[in-house]
Amino acid sequence: MINWLANPSRFTRISARALPWCGWTAAAALCAGLFWSLVLAPPDYQQGDTVRIMFIHVPAAWMALNIYLFVAVASAVALVWRHPLAEVAARAAAPIGAAFTFVCLATGSLWGRPMWGTWWVWDARLTSVLILFFLYLGHIALVNAFDDPSRGGKAGSILALVGVVNLPIIKFSVDWWNTLHQSASVMRIGGPRIDISMLVPLLIMTAGFSLFFLALLMLRMRTVLNERKAGTLRLNAGVAPAPRPARERAMPAHPGRS
């Protein structure tokens, strides 16, 4: 399956058909999710309407973690099997992950102010997510720091793999350390501990964000492939014109031979 997908021209063909579909379903899911989150979902009995921030904050946090995992797996595949698309996928996904991490941090801060009485605390959950944000930024900077994209890709892959230790720290930080942040109420053993009226918009927003990620991932991968192809063409164009005058010079000699 991975082998079959790792062919760049096949990816280009499939993504051309899948991209519009992903984009439009993402837009539809996000519209429905926003309406459900802002209008249909009830205010929380303790937190009032601030609970509506959850419908963005929590899916964004899940995306931040899952996209990092995606970048790390793609990096491992790129390092071990050298699949041509894996490194492109990691490079294309990291900025999307960084954007979701930023959204998670910003909305968390806006939720923390009215509910905790503070914009920010240096506890394990918030600090480890901030580190995740810096890992993304570091990956983006490193990948673009080399003229040779394969060297940049390798350096970025190693950083992404080292940063994986941060993921379980984020996930379990609320259980291991004392924190203002609540512990998991959806992804927990024993099932979700959240009312269905809030779970539904949460899952719709998560689906919307996931489809949005897939669409942007394909778009950005296609961009990288286009840029690489253009780079090779430019390189060839720089080399190719040189032998041509030699052939043209040889041309006049040709009729003389017959």
């Binding site: 926003l34 802002l38 209008v39 205010p43 009032g48 309407d49 601030t50 509506r52 921030i53 963005i56 904050h57 964004a60 900025p95 999307i96 954007a99 930023f102 959204v103 910003a106 909305t107 806006l110 939720w111 102010r113 009215p114 949005f212 942007l216 778009l219 950005r220 296609r222 961009t223 286009n226 840029e227 192809k229 253009a230 063409l233 430019r234 060839n236 164009a237």
Partner: protein, 57 residues
């Protein structure tokens, strides 16, 4: 009218709820727009290079 005002007030938490949705909207649509712009640009550049390579001469 009162319904809309109540909706916008967000139970007194308008100052936190709306900026949270605003940040998400700005960051995600900004990223999508930038990705789309870069994609268009890369196809234009590639098309130009491929045209230059093939039919000339």
């Amino acid at each position: 009218m009162g319904d809309i005002a109540a909706f916008l007030a967000m139970g007194g938490y308008a100052d936190f709820v709306w900026p949270a949705y605003g940040v998400a909207l700005v960051v995600l649509t900004g990223l999508a727009a930038d990705s789309w712009r870069r994609y268009r640009q890369s196809t234009v550049v590639l098309d130009r290079l491929q045209q230059r390579r093939r039919p000339r001469r």
